[in-house]
């Protein structure tokens, strides 16, 4: 049978260690946001590489049909516009530091959430349709140089990939990103709320 004094001495003898320093703690808080920034940057980088690859195709091959030129123009413009929108979204989270300007950061994060929502919904469909149209026109000439089976394979793989990205993959990305941003907003709101409410009691 233990008394409260025994519990007290048990508590006193039990030591806890804080293994983190103040600097590490602040850095850890920034890390979650930094990982989101890096992903957004990688996304932009990937789009830029696609843009360059298509541009090289246009520069180094002598295409004969007008449909090919029209197709490449549509694809290149679609990629450029989508990349620009991605970049604008990236700017929303790249300029603010939560530890320095919490309210500004929170507002920008909410705007980023809306911008990502638009990007993966309405804008994504416009992008996919434009890309499909462009690739369709591009294939009109290019595929004429290949045998039937190769033509079929190229069409199935390309449009299969487009459909996969627009459906299953898009849904997974939306779900993951929605959760990640919502969790960050929830966490930073929780941190900011206490002092806004000016209420410190139980």
């Amino acid at each position: 049978m233990q008394e409260f004094d025994d519990i007290q001495s048990l508590w006193n003898n039990h030591t806890v260690e804080v293994k983190i320093s103040s600097g590490e703690m602040l850095a850890q808080a920034k890390k979650e946001v930094n990982s989101m920034r890096s992903k957004s940057l990688l996304n932009i980088l990937g789009m830029c590489l696609s843009f360059l690859a298509i541009a090289c195709l246009w520069l180094f091959f002598d295409f004969q049909s007008w449909t090919t030129h029209a197709g490449i123009t549509i694809v290149i413009i679609s990629i450029a516009v989508y990349t620009f929108i991605l970049y604008k979204g990236h700017l929303l989270i790249s300029r603010n530091d939560f530890t320095a300007n919490p309210n500004d950061f929170l507002n920008q994060l909410k705007l980023y959430q809306i911008s990502r929502y638009n990007l993966y919904n309405r804008l994504y469909w416009i992008y996919s349709i434009a890309l499909s149209l462009g690739i369709g026109l591009l294939f009109y000439e290019i595929l004429s140089y290949f045998s039937f089976w190769k033509q079929l394979l190229a069409i199935v793989l390309t449009f299969g990939w487009l459909i996969f990205c627009s459906t299953i993959f898009r849904r997974i990305v939306i779900k993951k990103e929605k959760e990640r941003i919502a969790l960050l907003i929830e966490k930073f709101e929780r941190i900011s709320t206490q002092f806004k409410e000016n209420e410190h009691h139980f």
């Binding site: 233990q2 983190i20 703690m25 206490q194 139980f202």
Partner: protein, 165 residues
Amino acid sequence: MEQKDLLFKQIFETNSKKIFHLCYGYTGDKDSANDLLQETFLKVWQNLDKFRNKSLLSTWIYRIAVNTCLTYLRSEKRQGKEELTDNIIENETETYSEKNEQVALLYKSISKLEENDRLIITMVLDELPYNEIAEISGISEGNLRVKIHRIKQKLTELYNQHARI
């Protein structure tokens, strides 16, 4: 800015251990306690200039920590996550038992208390003066003494109950 960094470093070094203990006592889980410690000190960092020396700095930080603990657990519940303390402590009992079965029992007993009682008893166990606990919790000192007496009894009872199982 550098001055703020230095001040914050000093504040963190002086208070983090006690705050971690409070959070650990409240959640019974190291990871959640670390999250709470981080949130508490982020608030301290951001609002350091709002501290007006009306109370002790440690009281101010405790008050932030207590609010952080309560809000954190409520938001975890709102998100439909499992009850932090109960399950985590059940799951971690095995790990504890190798190190210190009695400490595991103590955390388990604390977890069975009401949310506010959990925080109060953690501060009592950390030997904070009653007037400071009263200020942090917003309860009058007279009421607090009665409350603490009741919580102490309840905790001892719970501890002995668990020890018998």
